[in-house]
Symmetry: C2
Subunit: 410 residues, 2 copies
């Protein structure tokens, strides 16, 4: 018999599970162009300064700044042009007092110079002499060595998910291969005598598996490798055998529990037997998604997901994706990934539970509006036709039309 569990809040549920989870210790080294959206497996420090030499930020002339002090349209400084700095190799010229060298944007400053005069602030008198009509300070129009990154500087902490500009930054300091956390393998087991794979033609009374496809792609997006493990019939011995086999190949197991009470009890029992400490949470104060199960089997997280498609989406967002981030050693999602909108209709809720309602978003002249989609949580197209999810907090008995609300985008 399953134990009787008390319904807990989302925070309590995640805290109970989180205490048992630790980042996986598997590290992969991937080429830069394959590192997008991967999570760094260690602090990355710069092996070199960027730039490695002082560079001009302008087309102009490398000079000694002191030679330009006081220069103006009426009283220009006259400098002798001794040559041009090449791109891609060090200039073999030395700028002496009263001398200038032509430089291009990005070019290396010649020895002796300490500033660059923009070409717009000069006039060529002849091939050997220029007038400078505005003074420059030391370092003006120059990127000094290490201004972008100092050698040894922390580029990204461990657990950082790499974005395009981060990949560019790593290229800049020559980290052409990056140590990233291996993608956690997540086994997904569907259940139910009535469930058949999507590609199969269902007979009367049968339905196609929806949750395996939704969950697998959520896992992919969150940085894991989904391992669909088939569909278990409503038979506890078979379910137990399939769950054990799936977990043995994976870092995490998701069982899409059946929707009836008897199959949910069976799922809870099987999950409880998979390893220690077993079921930590059975029932969360959310709607939809209340019958979610959070468990740990000998260090591996195991979830019993509600059978309904919308409940599954909510449970994955609230519990599965954060657990996956913990296995990746990745920081929690920043709290600002929500958009603010105003509500078009009243939304009822019950104090003491968090409600999640799919919404359509609409930009009107006076801002962004969220229109709730009141569908049953067993209809997948209520979320397939939504732009995001409205969250009704635990302590509210509902929200009113015109209330400002936060929406998590899909």
């Amino acid at each position: 018999m399953p134990e009787l569990f008390q319904v807990v809040t989302v925070d309590v549920a995640n805290q109970r599970l989180g205490e048992h989870l630790a980042p996986l210790q598997r590290v992969e080294h991937v080429a830069l162009l394959d590192a997008l959206d991967r999570t760094t497996a260690q602090d990355l420090h710069s092996p070199a300064p960027l730039p490695a030499f002082a560079r001009s930020t302008m087309d102009g002339f490398a000079v000694r700044a002191a030679d330009t002090y006081g220069a103006s349209e009426g009283l220009p400084a006259y400098l002798t042009l001794i040559g041009e700095a090449p791109m891609g190799r060090p200039p073999d010229l030395v700028v002496g007092s009263g001398e200038a060298v032509r430089v291009h944007t990005g070019g290396m400053l010649p020895a002796g110079s300490d500033a660059v005069v923009m070409v717009e602030n000069t006039q060529a008198l002849d091939a050997r002499m220029i007038e400078v009509v505005r003074p420059v300070a030391i370092g003006e129009n120059v990127i000094p060595i290490g201004e972008d990154v100092a050698p040894g500087a922390l580029l990204f902490p461990r657990g950082h998910r790499l974005r395009p500009q981060d990949i560019g930054g790593l290229a800049g300091v020559g980290l052409a291969s990056v140590p990233v956390a291996a993608r956690p393998r997540v086994a997904i087991l569907a259940t139910g005598d009535e469930v058949v794979p999507a590609e199969q033609e269902p007979q009367p009374g049968q339905i196609r598996d929806i949750n395996t496809y939704t969950v697998a792609t959520i896992i992919k997006r969150a940085g894991g490798v989904p391992l669909p493990a088939g569909i278990a019939p409503d038979d506890i011995d078979l379910l137990r055998r399939m769950a054990r086999a799936a977990l043995a190949e994976a870092d995490m197991l998701l069982i899409s529990a059946g929707s009836s009470v008897s199959t949910r009890d069976m799922t809870a029992q099987v999950i409880g037997e998979l390893g220690q400490p077993g079921v930590l949470v059975h029932g969360v104060s959310i709607h939809p998604g209340k019958p979610t199960i959070l468990a740990v089997a000998d260090g591996q997280p195991v979830f019993g997901l509600p059978g309904n498609p919308v409940s599954t989406l909510v449970a994955c967002d609230l519990f599965v994706a954060p657990a996956l981030r913990q296995l990746l050693g990745s920081a929690p999602l920043p709290p600002w990934q929500m958009v603010q909108a105003r509500l078009t209709h009243n939304v009822a809720s019950i104090p003491g539970r968090e409600d999640f309602v799919p919404v359509r978003l609409e930009t009107r002249a006076d801002g962004l509006w969220a229109e709730p989609i009141f569908g049953k949580s067993n209809l997948i197209y209520t979320v397939a036709h939504a732009d995001g999810m409205l969250h009704v907090p635990l302590d509210r008995a509902g929200l009113y039309a015109n209330d400002p609300v936060a929406i998590r985008l899909f």
Copy 2:
């Protein structure tokens, strides 16, 4: 000689380019689990109703609703239990007047029944007889055929980017293979005598290629296939030859222009010669990113991107990603993908240009705050250490501390 172009606004630039672009006509059929983030290549209609049979949403008893009318705790309705509906196949029972059949959540309703009484509202008198203490209406606790999706209904229009719940929805109606737009191939050509690949040890005066890596991963994220095409030296004949070869293999070409005026002019000239109508925009009223080039060569979009890493990021976001969406036949990004924050410091700008400033975000007790990162646009780590980009509109001379602002998240 390059023509003299006038600086135009972002909207004008995109409009000029957009008029010449059309969705690519290449379609691929991919398995559902590979369809995440792909773009539908045609309107998808449902081949079947979902569900295909009337299903119970509760554990309980299938009945004729009329038999329960007026039932209460004090005056229950008595029904004869004639059996149990199996999961996964049609029940062979017919519910007659005064009869009930046990059903599980998700199970198929037996013929003759038109509603389900929740088990909580019944009491078993013996193995053959139940009491019903609350009436049900016709259709109560039942999902009728096609409630989720009617046969022939539009599931997703052409140009829809598929999310996890959409993949689940397609599974539900048996669309196990999806027609999606082929990923546009985007050639990326770096330029500059001073630029070497990231894995190469630069000599004095040389710098590693940053932009190819940033741009390639932006393209990947936007749904294209990046094709790095090497680094062209500052030699117009070689640049021309490499640009032609790269464009011949691709649907779009990005040339990361050098940062000096002379190499930018060279890039503009080569782009202008690639095909008709040639350069459409040379210079946009943005900072950073002003020297961006938008062109079309015989139907293929070609971009000259500014050499600076931050400018490149801005130009890709404003021009390249929207063009890629056009090739995919995908709708423009919805306008609500920005978060609202308040500004920690004044930000100066110049009326008549749009400014983009990297910001760090911070959640404080009174909401979300954006702290501008005032770095030079040639420092990649100003964006690598940012959470998003602040936009200063065209008509503003700057923004003040405490102003509400919209931030595009990275």
